[in-house]
């Protein structure tokens, strides 16, 4: 039988606020253990949580960017369970009146656009961090993260392949980055993803028994875990066994999902309204104001790049692949009104440098102004494209401006016939075969000769002039 996978994703995003969700402790990554703790986030008797206004505003941005309906009346609930990473023995979360619901995200795949519904986006607090030293019968707890604001974004089970799940995560992350509400760094845990997956006979609409996958710390791992799990469930069903509803952990080393040692009983969280937090009433005008304040989102930016500058879908997507790169492009545009030239440089040589250095645009020693200076030198015919790549390399190494590097390395393009003719004579003398080929009618042979001129002149020759001079010289 053919089976169709049904996948739903639950994403947790740490909000980039200055303080925790319900107390004034600093919300920072990487400080010494248990330095950002207070009676509220430790759940000491008599303490009273108060909601961080900025956390709610950030949640609102995400909800609206994902087209969710924001509830006019929302409240927090206690989710009760015992685990040492939770100092209060409950987590402040949202149960039956989530902050927002019924959104969607359109993802682009080879086969076209897929509409993924978003079930809910709600606000909750994060738990602390547990460390399990190899030796000893104890675990250690750091509560710096306990009580920091977390957004839970739950999709409907609308995805049907690991690739769709991957595309959903990539697009969601991009939106979150554009909104500038989180670092979205999976390695630091500021973005986390759990996946629910089940199989059903192809062509049917019911839902099979699902397993919940956890412990994936990259989008790639999510895709691999789903691929593995789909195969595993397929094998179970094909052999006439049934899938057990369980939580399974992705094991990066073994490249497989393994059942989590089952906690003693099914979870029974006994949600009830958090009595320490009064409810929140959100007016239509507040929602409208937040909507107006949303930045341009990736999809809109891509469309605008295509419509205004005539970029291809692929180029528009590359330029808007991170907000930093798109902002860099637009800053360049303010200085230099040739969008296609700038795009060519960013997608070509600059992206090459980012990839080979493992840096994003912000990590390079490059500003819009310094890039434009370089492009300007090329466009004015002062240096060749080839030399420009070398100059870019040098700019990133030394941080010096392009003009100075050209001067120091004597890279100015040579366009005058007098200086070029000796190089051309040298090339003609040394490449008899290509010369003969050209004279025999092989026009392409001239390209090889131009290449030799470029090489001999260390990239300084103006290739256009060199080509013209070569043809003239060879035809005479």
């Amino acid at each position: 039988m053919n089976y169709e996978p049904v996948i739903g994703l639950e994403v947790h995003v740490q909000l980039k606020t200055a303080t925790k969700a319900f107390c004034g402790c600093a919300n920072v990554f990487g400080t010494r253990e248990n330095t950002n703790i207070c009676p509220v986030c430790l759940g000491l008797p008599g303490s009273l949580p108060v909601l961080n206004e900025k956390a709610l505003k950030a949640a609102m941005k995400v909800a609206l960017a994902l087209g969710c309906q924001v509830r006019s009346f929302t409240k927090f609930d206690r989710k009760n369970y015992y685990y040492p990473d939770l100092p209060k023995n409950f987590q402040i979360s949202q149960y039956d009146m989530p902050f927002s619901e019924h959104g969607s995200l359109d993802i682009c795949l080879e086969g076209g656009i897929r509409h993924i519904r978003i079930k809910r986006v709600h606000l909750e607090e994060d738990a602390g961090k547990l460390i399990h030293p190899e030796e000893g019968a104890e675990s250690l707890v750091d509560y710096n993260r306990a009580g920091t604001p977390l957004l839970e974004i739950v999709s409907e089970p609308d995805m049907h392949s690991p690739d769709e799940a991957y595309a959903y995560l990539t697009d969601l992350k991009l939106i979150l980055q554009y909104l500038d509400i989180s670092d979205c760094d999976m390695e630091k845990g500021s973005l986390r993803c759990d996946a629910n997956v089940s199989l059903r006979p192809a062509g049917t609409t019911g839902l099979g028994v699902k397993s919940e996958l956890k412990n994936m710390n990259s989008f790639r791992a999510v895709r691999l875990a789903l691929e593995y799990e789909i195969k595993r469930q397929e094998a179970e069903l094909s052999d006439g066994r049934s899938v057990v509803q369980e939580t399974r952990l992705w094991n990066e080393k073994k490249q497989m999902t393994l059942p989590m040692r089952s906690k003693e009983e099914a979870h029974d969280y006994r949600y009830f309204p958090e009595p320490d937090l009064p409810p929140f009433v959100i007016s239509a005008s507040e929602i409208e104001e937040a909507k107006q304040g949303l930045p341009e989102l990736p999809k809109e930016k891509r469309s605008r790049f295509i419509a205004s500058f005539g970029f291809s879908d692929k180029d528009a997507a590359t330029l808007s692949a991170t907000r930093a790169l798109a902002d860099f492009f637009e800053a360049c545009l303010k200085l230099y009104d040739k969008p296609k030239k700038i795009a060519h440089w960013l997608i070509g040589p600059v992206s090459f440098q980012m990839n080979s250095r493992g840096q994003d645009i912000g990590g390079l020693r490059l500003t819009p102004a310094s890039l434009i200076e370089l492009i300007d030198l090329v466009e004015a015919g002062k240096i060749s494209q080839l030399a420009a790549k070398e100059v870019l390399q040098e700019m990133l190494e030394s941080g010096k401006p392009a003009g100075k590097i050209v001067e120091e390395k004597n890279l100015s393009q040579v366009s005058d016939a007098g200086s070029l003719s000796s190089v051309i004579e040298e090339v003609i003398a040394a490449n008899k075969k290509s010369v003969d080929d050209f004279r025999a009618g092989k026009e392409n042979a001239v390209m090889f000769l131009v290449g030799q001129v470029m090489r001999l002149s260390k990239g300084k020759a103006n290739p256009k002039t060199a080509r013209e001079m070569l043809i003239e010289r060879l035809k005479s």
Binding site: E33, N34, L51, H132, E138
Partner: protein, 95 residues
């Protein structure tokens, strides 16, 4: 509403309470009478009453996103059952 012994044991476990056989019987009776009492609410017509989410007539209580000093870890860890360095120490939990 009747409460079985298993219900009591289950709830006690969720709350991490260890109850003796005697206590289970004792609380079984108590819980039953409490629930019976609360059941009286079912005789009221609440079809026109909005569900209550909070007892106080308060709403939209926010805090500005500005940092206030945290506690001194050493003084807090003093009241912890166990600590190691600046960490809280708990019996090993492994997933």
């Amino acid at each position: 509403m009747s409460i079985s012994r298993d219900d009591v044991t289950y709830i006690a476990h969720l709350a991490r309470l260890g109850l003796s056989e005697e206590e289970i019987s004792h609380f079984q009776g108590q819980l039953e009478s409490i629930l019976e009492y609360v059941d009286k609410l079912k005789t009221l017509d609440v079809s026109r009453v909005e569900p209550m989410t909070h007892v106080l007539d308060l709403k939209n209580v926010y805090r500005k996103d500005s940092v206030v000093p945290s506690l001194d870890p050493q003084s807090v860890l003093k009241i912890a059952p166990a600590a190691q360095g600046q960490f809280y120490k708990v019996p090993k939990v492994i997933e």
